[in-house]
């Protein structure tokens, strides 16, 4: 018990009852005030702490916010804040790079879902595809989307390469990025090729047999290639053996195909894509449409500010 007690209204000692009375009185005024404050605060949700912690800038339509919408967003800051006015026209870029990347995302998504229902073994692979087609919920849709998106992606990659070539967008300073793109083309084709074997049906099996049989003809490294046998290459130790994990397309080939298809090549391709997108920005963004250059001006070094219209 404290020695001194606080003084109450009449200067006398304050007991528990008085204290409780005081608190009740205070509650009567303070709590309604707090309630009013809270309601006021919620009237504009965009000013709450939760909102401002997620969305770090305003969204009313000002040029600053338009720029920030792109620059401060981790997914969108692939883009610059502004681009060449005519680059938004579909006819220039055909959108094929973006479409290819979108298809890659679709393939990854459907691919991951398919992985839940597929076992890369000789006993189960074929059956699993049958199950996907007939009883897995949305299995048929998933498998079909995966296959057709793969074909579309190969076509998209070719059209993208075609467009980049026709607009000369591989010329200085974009030579290196073109080469990254060539590598991405190769990996896209390899992704498609490794996936081809996975249903373990006649179509996939023989396609991969044809493909890997070409490997045994590699000069120096294949047991049927020029100078291969001279270097000690046999069906059991040449580059084809390394690809298949055996001398025939069998269970090991299926497993390796699966690993390349789901993990190995996607990782490499993702890294290359990161470099590819980075270089697009660093090399000056979308190449055009650029102002036409006349032959007479072609060899002159550029000096000073850009020519009219650039």
């Amino acid at each position: 018990m404290p020695e001194e007690k606080p003084n109450g209204k009449n200067g006398g000692r304050v007991g528990i009852v008085d204290r409780v009375k005081e608190d009740v009185q205070a509650a009567r005024t303070e709590i309604p005030a707090k309630v009013k404050e809270q309601i006021e605060g919620l009237k504009d949700p965009t000013k709450t702490q939760v909102y401002t912690s997620i969305f770090r800038h305003k969204h009313d339509d000002t040029p600053r916010n338009r720029a920030l919408g792109v620059l401060s967003n981790v997914f969108l800051h692939l883009h610059p804040a502004k681009i060449n006015r005519d680059a938004v026209r579909y006819s220039y870029t055909w959108g094929m790079g973006g479409i290819t990347f979108y298809l890659f995302i679709v393939l990854t998504f459907t691919g991951v879902l398919l992985m839940f229902y597929y076992h890369p073994t000789k006993v189960q692979a074929f059956r699993d595809v049958l199950y996907l087609e007939h009883d897995v919920p949305f299995g048929k849709l998933l498998r079909n989307m995966h296959r057709w998106a793969a074909h579309l992606m190969v076509i998209g990659v070719w059209l993208h390469m075609f467009r980049v070539f026709l607009t000369g967008s591989y010329k200085k300073p974009r030579e290196f990025n073109w080469n990254i793109g060539v590598l991405l083309l190769v990996f896209t084709l390899l992704l498609s090729f490794t996936g081809y074997l996975l249903p373990d049906d006649q179509l996939g099996f023989w396609a991969v047999t044809v493909g890997t049989n070409m490997a045994r003809a590699t000069p120096l490294l294949g047991h049927e290639g020029p100078f291969g046998p001279q270097l000690g290459m046999t069906p059991y130790n040449d580059v084809r053996f390394g690809l298949l994990g055996g001398s025939i397309v069998d269970a090991n080939a299926l497993l390796r195909s699966y690993i390349w298809h789901c993990i190995g090549i996607p990782i490499v391709a993702s890294v290359l894509m990161i470099v590819h997108f980075w270089r697009v920005r660093k090399d000056g963004g979308i190449s055009g449409p650029a102002p036409v250059v006349l032959e007479a001006e072609a060899d002159k070094p550029r000096r000073g500010p850009k020519a009219a219209g650039e």
Binding site: P63, R127, L130, H134, K140, Q202
Partner: protein, 378 residues
């Protein structure tokens, strides 16, 4: 720095994509709904099959039940049955008073047992806990001290309140004995009840056996059972799964009536007024040659070892029957169904059982005698 005011005639910034988005959104929603519909119904025709089955089989069973009831009445009218019924009535009459008496006693005992149980089980639980501590105590002295506590507890008395209002106090030993004695008594009474009921049950069984032996078809009770089963049926994939043999047969998802105990024909499964059986009616027929099924239990054999087809397929008739490109084992045509016997009975020279097997045996004969392999490549 704010942008300069934009002149209105700049096509890039003034063009509206609202119409494009509208069309694209509508198309996208439509395709998504289409995908959902396809997923739920389009590629699951067995759902429709099972819904139609419920309607048609229920209607069929209704007519079957009335026929069955009529037939059962006939059987029950026979003099033998009447005699059995008399026996039953007599036995029941004799047994009833004693049964009632015993049942009342058992009821009383149940209440008593419950009263003792609620007290006893609680005290027993405590005793068991202490006993555990004694057994696992590390030192002898601790053991002894807990044992002392245990003995003290066991000597304490607890009161049991009986349903008739009386109270009695027991210590632990007495409580246990009372509990066991009451239960023994109840067991004795139950045995007595059983003995008394035996002649009644026997007489009843004799009556039922008579009906079952003399009725050609199912009894109304059995048919009512089938009706209930059909009513409770939720459409789902019906599957026979024999993992060791890689058999996954979903044929019964559409051929739901194939193993029903009552004989179904395409005509009886057709909708009312239909001139010819439709696809549904043809699918619902019973398996012919029921004796084959008794020797080849479908739960172990599935359907595809004898009939071929694609057991796992459920999305269409062509797929399920394996009648599409790239499936190497299409369904055997009806006239050739005996070809399926070759799967296992390839080495048998003769394969006849009742009506079944004549065609294939003749075929085997011809094959061996005529030497087909001499000219035709395999």
């Amino acid at each position: 720095m704010p942008d300069k005011p934009v002149p209105d005639n700049d096509p890039i910034v003034t063009k509206s994509y609202a119409a494009h988005y509208m069309i694209a959104t509508v198309l996208l929603m439509a395709t998504l709904l289409w995908a959902l519909w396809d997923e739920a119904f389009g590629m699951r025709p067995w759902k429709a099959y099972q819904h139609v089955w419920k309607d048609r089989y229920t209607a069929f069973l209704k007519t079957a039940r009335s026929k069955s009831a009529a037939s059962q009445k006939e059987v029950e009218a026979s003099p033998d049955y009447q005699k059995l019924k008399e026996n039953l009535d007599q036995a029941t009459q004799q047994a009833t008073p004693h049964i009632r008496d015993v049942q009342k006693q058992i009821g009383d005992l149940n209440a008593k047992v419950l009263a003792v149980q609620s007290v006893f089980t609680d005290r027993r639980a405590y005793v068991n806990a202490l006993t555990y501590q004694i057994e696992t105590a590390s030192s002898q002295s601790l053991k002894q001290s807990i044992q002392k506590d245990l003995d003290k507890y066991k000597a304490e008395t607890a009161a049991v309140e009986y349903p008739d209002g009386s109270r009695k106090s027991y210590n632990f030993e007495e409580l246990e004995k009372t509990y066991n004695d009451l239960k023994d008594e109840r067991a004795k009474l139950n045995a007595d009840l059983g003995d008394t009921l035996k002649p009644v049950t026997q007489a009843k069984n004799a009556m039922d056996d008579y009906v079952n032996d003399h009725m050609v078809d199912l009894t109304p009770t059995q048919i009512a059972g089938l009706e209930k089963k059909t009513d409770d049926l939720e459409p789902s994939i019906q599957q026979i799964n024999v993992a060791e043999a890689n058999i996954v047969d979903r044929c019964e998802s559409c051929h739901i009536g194939i193993r029903e105990p009552i004989k179904l024909t395409a005509a009886s499964m057709s909708p009312k007024g239909a001139k010819t059986p439709d696809d549904y009616a043809k699918a619902f027929v019973s398996h012919s040659n029921a004796q084959l099924l008794s020797v080849h239990d479908p739960e172990k054999f599935g359907c595809s070892p004898c009939h071929q087809g694609n057991g796992r397929a459920t999305t269409s008739i062509e797929k399920a029957h394996g009648n599409y490109e790239h499936w190497l084992w299409p369904l055997y045509v009806r006239q050739n169904f005996e070809a399926g016997c070759q799967t296992c009975h390839a080495s048998d020279m003769m394969l006849i059982s009742g009506d079944v097997g004549w065609t294939i045996s003749r075929g085997k004969d011809l094959f061996r005698q005529r030497g087909c392999m001499g000219c035709h490549r395999y």
